[in-house]
Symmetry: none
Subunit: 216 residues, 4 copies
DNA sequence: AATGAATGAGGATTCATTCAT
DNA sequence: TATGAATGAATCCTCATTCAT
């Protein structure tokens, strides 16, 4: 990560032009392909650039860093994930804690399956501080959103707080890491376990409505 | 991996001298330590050599390649694992399918816990073709050995074949990878599940004796 | 420095528009600040442009080159210096060789102190052919002007020629470089010595009037 | 400057082999030539290596860094300077404070004149922390040696301490920087001034013998 | 057998400059 | 005129590997 004179990390410039957007997408696609093919550590600026048919120097138009490219990959995938979760939850006609958990997990699985590069980078996130940090922050954000939803619908008891949601999300995160560690489709057994574990945990904080369900 | 003029991989020279053996062990120990501390990709010939207090060039007396060192690490660990499995099985006084599975899994867990470098390399095995190939071959070999044992003891039905054992071993392999992916001691929940899953699977092919047990 | 198709150096476009003039000044001010802060070699187009709040590409509207910016800086400062010398000399009511030398040196010192960037670039001028060349030419020009002044006032003997003035100017130039090499205000001891040395030298070529003085 | 895993700067390997020594000398000579020709900032690893007819990577056999090469240049020159000072002082048959100062300054001037690259690097030392630090330490060391000599010969009064010698050396150092800033042979006027200033200063701490002299 | 020395190939990143609009 | 975007060339440096002794 580059830093400016004042020591703050230089921000990646987010291009708004459509031409640029295409190029960025191409770069990210190439990077994703390389990651899937050869692993996170093996992708270099050169291989990304070559695959994207872009000069190496041009990468630095759009990204601060090699790491920044990987981070962008994760961000892109996470955005897709958020969208999917939101859509799937919006499609529910009846809400229980378990339904919300199931829909969320299903959305995650669907996106993971579509985006194998995400799985690879995410799993090795430990190699890369920026990615790690970003994902952690995102987990908190997701937890908050889910908590707000359940709370607004009256599915939770008084005691329940955003903290509980965070714990659940972190657990789910871990389980997904495990499930996708070696199986790019997500080990179904662990995915099943994930649903059971998370539901059981969160139902400890469910109101009667949270168990019985409320209509949308 | 180096290749000779004919394109075949150059074989690692296996030293027989005791002085050499000490050095090889020291190198492997150092490499293992580095792997555990900094991850597979971060380990270079220099860091291994420095840690082993051996000149870098001397690594090539004992190993063909950087990859070859990692492979040797895996081989060494796998040998330990085989020995442990054999010993633990030999210690059983009564054999059921489930006992064999349990003893084997326990042996694996014990060795994994003693040898964290193995876990790290094995998990990232995909980075390294040689290691991947070696492990796959070893899995088949283990499967065969276990099948022969159970078969000789009359624990299996007629339908059972080495293929089933292979499937079980591969499943166990996967589950271990998952269990150790984030927890260097092996996620106990997954390890428990592993025992249940593998036993249940293999008992589908168990003879009555395989369920009830036979004396040693 | 850029060159056109015929190999001649491309001339810097001297903008006449007032809007442009403002921008050029801003660019030069920024460049000067950067030079003083970080040294000549550390100043890049990007840092100049950022500091001037101007797009990098716009620098090339006004300057042919990175070098050309530094050269323009020197030119601007030299123009100020010339004006100051002229004004200070015009303010004299009585002229001796020593008075002219003193006034000239004082004018130089005053300008150097106001324009630290000039000192830095000039001292490292050797890095930059264009600047070196320009300064040498200017030295000759100043020497000629001072010689003409003293000559017209009858302060010099017959033997005296522009060449002697040039030597004096070069000596003075060197002494200034020395005086400002480490002390941004000019080492006073060297500045004093400069006055003594140059006066003594030039008085070797002074007419009686040159020593006694003439009224303006 | 490189750093090892523990954060300490990786030491430059000082080669003892004669073959290596030749190469190191060749590299340093090339670097010196480049510095003199194009200035300190313009010398890169590539240009040094090319000029020395050595692969770039080989530079890193002998030097930790680009900076380290420049530092080595300075060290080599400083060693020569120390040797020269020692020899010139040993040649004196009669010792006064002034004689010691004169001999020392003369030795410095002689070495500076032989080694223009040293002058250039030393003057820009401010660019390079390692060089700066090294020179400062060396100044202290020289001061100590000169003080010990004068002290042993009984040339100093009781009050005199190594601290005074350090001040004198620092002053001399500055004056040399000035004298050689623009004149590769050392501006004679400043060199003369240097002798006067330093002698006068140190004679404040001279014993009668220090003024009158003692035989070797 | 052992190793200090040597190196080609490649790593990420920066920079001055040009181009298309 | 003005400029965002684009890039070739260069930067320093690392690494696995080989060679000569």
């Amino acid at each position: 990560m580059q830093h400016d004179a004042a020591g703050r990390p230089r921000l990646r410039r987010v291009p708004q032009q459509s031409r640029s957007r295409d190029r960025v997408e191409k770069i990210l696609d190439s990077a994703a392909a390389q990651v899937v093919r050869h692993g996170v550590e093996a992708v270099g600026t050169r291989s990304i650039a070559d695959a994207a048919d872009v000069p190496v120097a041009s990468l630095y138009q759009y990204f601060a860093d090699r790491d920044d490219i990987l981070l962008a990959l994760v961000e892109r995938d996470i955005e897709a994930m958020d969208a999917r979760v939101q859509a799937d939850l919006a499609a529910l006609t009846r809400f229980t804690i378990r339904d919300i958990v199931a829909a969320t997990l299903a959305a995650f699985v669907a996106v993971y399956r579509e985006r194998p590069a995400f799985v690879m980078i995410y799993l090795r996130g430990r190699t890369n501080a920026a990615i790690d940090e970003f994902c952690r922050a995102h987990n908190r954000q997701i937890a908050r959103a889910l908590f707000d939803l359940a709370s607004d619908l009256g599915l939770l008891v008084e005691d329940a707080g955003p903290r509980h949601a965070e714990i659940a999300v972190e657990m789910g995160d871990r389980l997904f890491q495990l499930a996708f560690a070696t199986d790019m489709d997500g080990d179904p057994m662990i995915l099943d376990e994930a649903l059971k574990v998370l539901s059981a945990y969160l139902e400890l904080y469910a109101s009667p409505a949270g168990l019985k369900g409320v209509d949308a």
